[in-house]
Amino acid sequence: MITGPDIRSLLPIEILAGGMVITMLGVALKRNPTLTFICTLITLAASFLSVLFIWPAKPHAIGDLFLVDRFGCYFQALVLLSAFVVTLFSQISLKNFFPGKRKEEYYLLLLLATLGGATMVISTHFISFFIGLEILNISLYTLISYYRERPKAIEAGLKYLILAAMSSAFLLFGMALVYALTGTLSFQGLAATTFRHDSVSLTILITGIGLMITGMGFKLALVPFHMWAPDIYEGASSPISAFIATVSKGAMLAVLLRFFATADLFGFKKLMLVFTVIAILSMLGGNLLALRQNNIKRMLAYSSIAHFGYVLVAFIAGTGLGTQAASFYLTAYIITILAAFSLITLMSRSDNEATDIEDYAGLFWKKPVLATLLSITLLSLAGIPLTAGFMGKFYLLTSGVGKGNWLLAFTLVISSVIGLYYYLRFIFAMMRTDGQNFPIDSRPSYSSLTGLLVLSLLGAAVIWLGVYPAWLIRLVGSLT
């Protein structure tokens, strides 16, 4: 029986859905990309504000399906924020790559995907989780291959479709096994229920959880489920890559955290072992893969593999400090990576998306502002002080060391030193004085100006979090 409080606490999702329907109707009445664009922005903004509005003092459960607590709301806010930025830059990107084509669907799909993400982060039940995930996935397939002229886009879309579907199959089968054993689909139930402790059922249960990890690990692009990431990042347009890196991964991380917390699996030694292995593989593998990568989008993809490896360090540290660290780090990472991809979008021209390291050669002396922002971004990813990335890494290490996971802490340190190398490569490329001119047209269009503004805001946020993170730490501290 849906009650008033339920409706109130689901407001963000409702606004999203409602806004989307309205926008769709609007499109039906009159095709006008700008209008659609604005509607989308308004919807996202409204939804975001509603999150702040409903900011819950105490968790509010809606049946088994949803749990609207601060944690969920915080991640909803993150998702919506990222979606907002992505939308802004999508408009620029569309203008460059998709001139004179129909752009309205794009925004609708974006809203849909966001809705999926927003649903995932508050779900406490396999069904709600699954629905959110699939809404997100299926809209993503389309978004990735939206620029259908570009073979790469199609290839990426198809790859993602097959692989994501596979991973969903793994996830579902895992769920099914767990369900078969416990007879419940809610995270809570998994913790609560007791079942026959014979070897067979135990095997089945463990297998189930293992398969679920596979499915989730795929979404988070953790080694060894990471193969898709670089190709998709490269094939998709920069804003969509940003969307994958932020909304889709962030939402999945939120689910993972919530799932393990609610079903309290942190005590499950073998699981933690699995995650330790995955974390180490991801940290080292990601950074090593990126080491000599000349394509900045692929580089960011690989680095994001490593970064989610880092996050796992906090994740393994378990509830409390671990969750806070993960949330903090994810926030820092989202802001940074959004800045990065937005920058690529701004750099890009219709004939060429600025992805090669050569395109950035000597940028420092041609577009100092852009270059400075990109350097800040890269330094933040590298975890250098004065940037959000450093504080995030500090938080992660603290959680790791606090739990005495020295192995993980050391791997983190070593791998981030490796990582330094390729970030510096790009920074130095920008310092170079012999770079052949990459055609950056300097005609200040309205949209690129707003883009620059947003970008500067993101950059400022990175620095601010790096210098005065106390407020955010307090915030994430209040989540759990």
């Binding site: 603290t398 060391v401 020295w406 340190v413 070593i414 030193v417 330094l420 130095f428 106390a470």
Partner: protein, 512 residues
């Protein structure tokens, strides 16, 4: 508070210099010069007002801070902005300010491109180093420790010489890797302290009392040592230094040799010894051996080089060996020698680097094979070169001699064999130092260079350096008195915590 203002002043000047560069190239120079001069003025004021309170007083507690400023930063982790200074810090600040002014001056002609950004980086390096020398919160310390690297990286990688990318990257990776290890140790210490006392804080004074089990202490100590030994370019962690020094622009080399290396020594004295007395005692033999190896290996490599700047760089390696040897001798004489060496080496090597830079600016080469007989054309430069070469070979009457004699006398009490081996370094120093004079200024003129002698600005720079190095040689007490109290405190603490008070006293008497 004054300390915070100093740092802000430097950063502000940096930004200002960067902004004004769009209008003219001379403006940033003037602004930076003014800023650094102001910095120097303030520090000198502090020095003369406070060195009175820093003169040796009977009982020396290492916590006797002249200036102390605390402000909350990240309460959730007990992180505060704690800025404090004692004799050592003040001395280091003085050095920083002095070299800061000089590095602005030497860049006056050398740096022609992107002047604003250059000075921005220069001043941020100074700010970072200042932060390192005055932060008493371990988190803040690490923060500044890292902050000073980035601008230095830019400095090398933009205005450096032919092979700058490689050098800059190497420098950054080495320091980062070791720095992160130290950071792990800091966190470890943080948690150990927190668990035992329930107070989670990065405050140096609080952490100093932490009770640690032997192995834990040793491991944590190693983490710190890693960072500082790399910074001190101790063999075998030295290999970043020759490249960085060689490729950096003159100002960069001066700051690297004069200050960044010193942060390593400072870190050991300020953090490793007080935080881990026992562990340090365990580590001492190894450290002293490393020191001696550095002295000799550095000297050997210096003798082998044909690139003048690389040669000077290896001299630094050798001299830093003395510092390491002295620190781990654990007595006041050696420790004071170390502090003296920190200053003297900064001056002498700085002078040499400036001369090399001036030469390179004039003849576009650093190969000593290309030089020779230059005295005829540049007698002033030759004379200055002679002075600093003599300083670096430890001629009595110049700063380095005081430092080295104190260090060796002190270390002789700790380990006779090692000291005797280290003394061989004197002979080695003679070889490589005189080689510089011979190959560059004496001998037959190989190429007819048309070059001008030092100008007014350069003579100001070199003159001030010369005066300082001679002053250090004749009136070292003016420095030693300022640090006496702090040194006494640390040495006593180390020995007391290890041998118990009575032994410590006997050791004190022994050195009386």
């Amino acid at each position: 508070m004054i300390l915070a203002w100093i740092i802000l002043l430097l950063m502000g000047t940096g930004f200002l210099a960067w902004l004004t560069s769009r209008w003219s190239d001379i403006l940033p120079r003037i602004i930076s010069l003014a800023g650094t001069l102001l910095f120097l003025g303030v520090v000198l004021y502090l020095w003369f007002t406070h060195s009175a309170s820093a003169v040796p007083s009977g009982n020396a507690a290492a916590g006797a801070w002249i200036i102390h400023y605390t402000h909350s930063w990240i309460p959730a982790f007990g992180i505060h902005i704690i800025l404090a200074a004692d004799g050592l810090s003040l001395l280091m600040l003085l050095l920083t300010a002095f070299l800061g002014v000089l590095s602005v001056l030497v860049s006056w002609k050398e740096i022609k491109t992107r002047v604003g950004f250059f000075h921005f980086n220069l001043l941020f390096i100074l700010a970072g180093i200042t932060g390192v020398f005055v932060s008493l919160d371990l988190f803040l310390f690490y923060f500044s420790w890292e902050v000073m690297l980035i601008p230095m990286y830019f400095l090398i990688s933009i205005w450096g010489y032919e092979n700058r990318t490689y050098a800059a990257g190497k420098f950054f990776l080495f320091t980062q890797a070791s720095g992160l290890l130290m950071f792990l140790s800091i966190l470890g210490l943080y948690f150990v302290h927190g668990r035992s006392t329930g107070v989670y804080t990065f405050d140096y004074e609080a952490l100093k009392g932490t009770v640690l089990s032997q192995p834990t202490a040793f491991l944590l100590m190693l983490g710190f040592a890693a960072a500082f030994l790399v910074k001190l370019s101790t063999v075998p962690f030295h290999s970043w230094l020759p490249d960085a020094h060689t490729q950096a622009p003159t100002a960069g080399s001066v700051l690297l040799a004069g200050l960044l290396l010193k942060t390593g020594a400072y870190g050991i004295i300020r953090f490793v010894l007080p935080l881990f007395p026992q562990a340090s005692q365990q580590f001492a033999p190894a450290a002293m051996i490393l020191g001696v190896i550095s002295i000799l290996y550095g000297a050997k490599l210096a003798y082998a080089q044909t690139d003048l700047k690389r040669l000077v760089a290896y001299i630094s390696v050798s001299h830093m060996g003395f510092i390491l040897l002295g620190i781990y001798a654990f007595n006041q004489i050696a420790m004071q020698g170390v502090i003296m060496q920190m200053v003297a080496h900064a001056i002498s090597t700085g002078g040499l680097f400036i001369i090399v830079g001036a030469l390179h600016a004039r003849i576009q080469t650093r190969e000593i094979g290309q030089m020779g007989g230059l005295w005829t054309q540049v007698p002033k430069m030759g004379a200055m070169g002679l002075l600093f070469v003599l300083a670096s070979l430890g001629l009595p009457g110049l700063g380095n001699f005081i430092a080295e004699i104190l260090i060796l006398t002190g270390s002789f009490m700790a380990s006779k064999i090692l000291t005797i081996i280290a003394a061989v370094g004197f002979i080695a120093a003679t070889l490589y130092s005189l080689r510089i004079m011979q190959k560059v200024f004496y001998g037959t003129v190989l190429k007819k260079w048309e070059i001008t002698d030092f100008g007014f600005r350069e003579m100001i720079v070199m003159g001030s350096l010369a005066i300082v190095i001679i002053w250090l040689g004749l009136f070292p007490n003016s420095i030693l008195n300022a640090t006496q109290q702090m040194v006494q405190g640390i040495v006593q603490q180390v020995n007391i915590t290890v041998n118990g008070p009575q032994n410590a006293n006997t050791l004190q008497n022994a050195s009386r």
